[in-house]
Amino acid sequence: MTAASPISPKSPTREAAPEVLTFCLAGRDFCLPITSVREIRSWSDPTPLPLSDPSLLGVINLRGTILPIIDLAHKLRLSAARSRCDVIIVVACAGRLAGFAVDRVADILTFAPDALSPPPALANTAIAAGLSGMILAEGRCLPVLDATRLMPQQNRDRP
């Protein structure tokens, strides 16, 4: 929380300084490590999947790959109703791809590694489950999401 480790946009000071993509979801700011972000796409209507998890909006065609679209606001229990999203953040981790539906993408930030603190205990367990840490700097408190934990489950029981 001290100014010793400020968040600065695109600061080229240190090599391998962690970068995050910040975005807006149901009026709140979140971020994802830039290493898990593959690309950002404009919205296209997904084809719904039968009997699937309600936060799975469906699938879209990403240049020949079938990409599941996850309603992040629903997944994190930020809003009850399905939100109207405009942007899809395509994330890749563990050899799998998924698209996160968000309101809008804000910025790319570089932060000092010591600005990252472990996730606090949260009342909203849905957020807590998807969180890998918090960036605390310049009086801001930015939750860092863990893309792996928000991906569709590989071997879930069929609903």
Partner: protein, 644 residues
Amino acid sequence: MTQTDDPLAAIRTSFFQECEELLEQLADALADPAFAATAPDQVNAAFRAVHSVKGGAASFELDQLSAFAHRFENTFDDLRAGRRRVDPALMRRILPAADHLSFLIEAARAGRTCVDRSDLLQALDQSENPASGDWFIRFRPTAALYATGNEPLHILNALLELGDARIDLSTETLPHLSDINPEEGYLSWQLRLPGTIAEQALRDCFDFVEDVCDLQITRAVGPALSQAKATADARRSAPAAGDGPTVRIDLDRIDRLMNLVGELVIGQSMLEQTIAPALANSHSPARTAFDTLTSLTSDLQDSVMAIRAQPVKPLFQRMSRILRDAAAVAGKEATIRFLGEMTEVDRSIIEGLTEPLTHMIRNAVDHGLEKPADRRALGKPTCGTVTLSAAHRVGRVLIELFDDGAGIDRARVRAVAVDRGLIDHDQRLTDAETDALLFHPGFSTAQAVTSLSGRGVGLDVVRAALSRLGGRITIESQPGQGTRFQLSLPLTLAVTDGMALRSGGQILLLPLASIRETVRVRGADIRRLDDGTELMQIRGQLVSLCDVAAVLGLPESTPHHDHSVAVLVADEDGRQAALIVDEIIDQRQVVIKGLRTNCGPVAGIAAATILGDGRVALILDPGDMVRRAGSPAVPPSETERLAG
């Protein structure tokens, strides 16, 4: 490792890839019945394979591998020269040696050393029954031979003219370079020649040098092998079996090509929609050009598909090794038989099948086949047979594993299941339901059943592995006759012919191969059972109805079936269901896109495809739909569990 920058590393990698092919060729040759008759083609193929491994291994200084391959190769060299013949005893020794060769290769690849199994080679040498009557010659020139201007090479060449000879050079007495006296002779040769050659002819070769060398000519006892020369001649005349030249391609590149072709097809259909007016006239230049493009795209697609697909043969061959190991450990006799091993399946499926099949083969040997004595008592051949077969069925690959063993001991399975609390003591089960218990996760983990379920890894693991591939497994057993496992797998990444349907406001595709017929639904044809199951009479046959939109929970399902269309589908086992949809759109070829990697399993859906407008459409899984149609009262997860 640290060798990534090493240019040799790439060559090394390609050597090991080549080794895989060579092992396959070796296994092929050995499995060929003609090999047992010492047919020159097969013996040569085996020799070439081992020889190439040896050569490569030596150049990478993989000493353990090259030494083993060298001695192993000698056996084949003897065979192809007709100095030995293949008999069952030799066969039993060759196969473990071939297995060990593959272990050595694996070890060398991993940079490990392997257990020394020179006993295998000794066994090969011991079983050596050289063609009786062969000539053995020891030839050791003295310095005088060289001093008189004689050349051992001429003598050896002269001997070779007489018949196919095995010549071994002995350098045992060769001193260090600094100690060599150039006037002295240090080398000696051991030769073996077919017994059909007259002794005088041999002696004639040494005519001028007999007094300046140590020479022993001896003859093995017993009748001479008359075929030796004939076999050797046949070998010379037989051209080396050569397949066309090949290149090795990184799988990623093929996948990229594959995706691009898929995109091309989509781009083409987008173009078709855009320029539809110009194409309307079937004689217009645009139409002609477009048709040419279409047929080229389709050819391109087929060609890429063919690159990606591979025959299941290498997989099956690997299983024969596993079978031998398992049989040796269990003290049983077993052979493996392949059917349809040239069936082509996508590479990813083949890779994913290795683990479950390995377990199933072990399972078949451990628990399926009886001990040789028991088999004899039952009037069966002492050697059990495990049959692995592959075939294409209804747009899927069907792999069957059949053992002619004792079949499933249902009383015991039942006892174990009751013991484990999986079923009630007095619960009635059909035979099929009893057999299905073997797949229950709770079944195999119990200590009490290790002798039945093997290494603590149960069939539930096999089923889970298959399910990850989008496959299903069923079991069928006849007491005393054997057990048959049927694995049904998708041909992922293939193009399929599908019927486009509209249901619940969505376009869905149904694999054409699963469709029997389509009929218009009339309310009067529908019968309703007490449990809510709906049946429809089609050509006098009652088939359960399945409203696609309702079963899949699609948003716009229509409650009334009147005026909708029923598509009669059948799964791999021939069970049928009538799928109710709103409309049939058309029939088209679609590129199958996997859903599973990114989305996990999806109920009732096998895969997805991309429509002309770039949107995703789902491809129905007919088998899953049939199962869902059959038992609407049972929750889907339950059906899944029971059906395996």
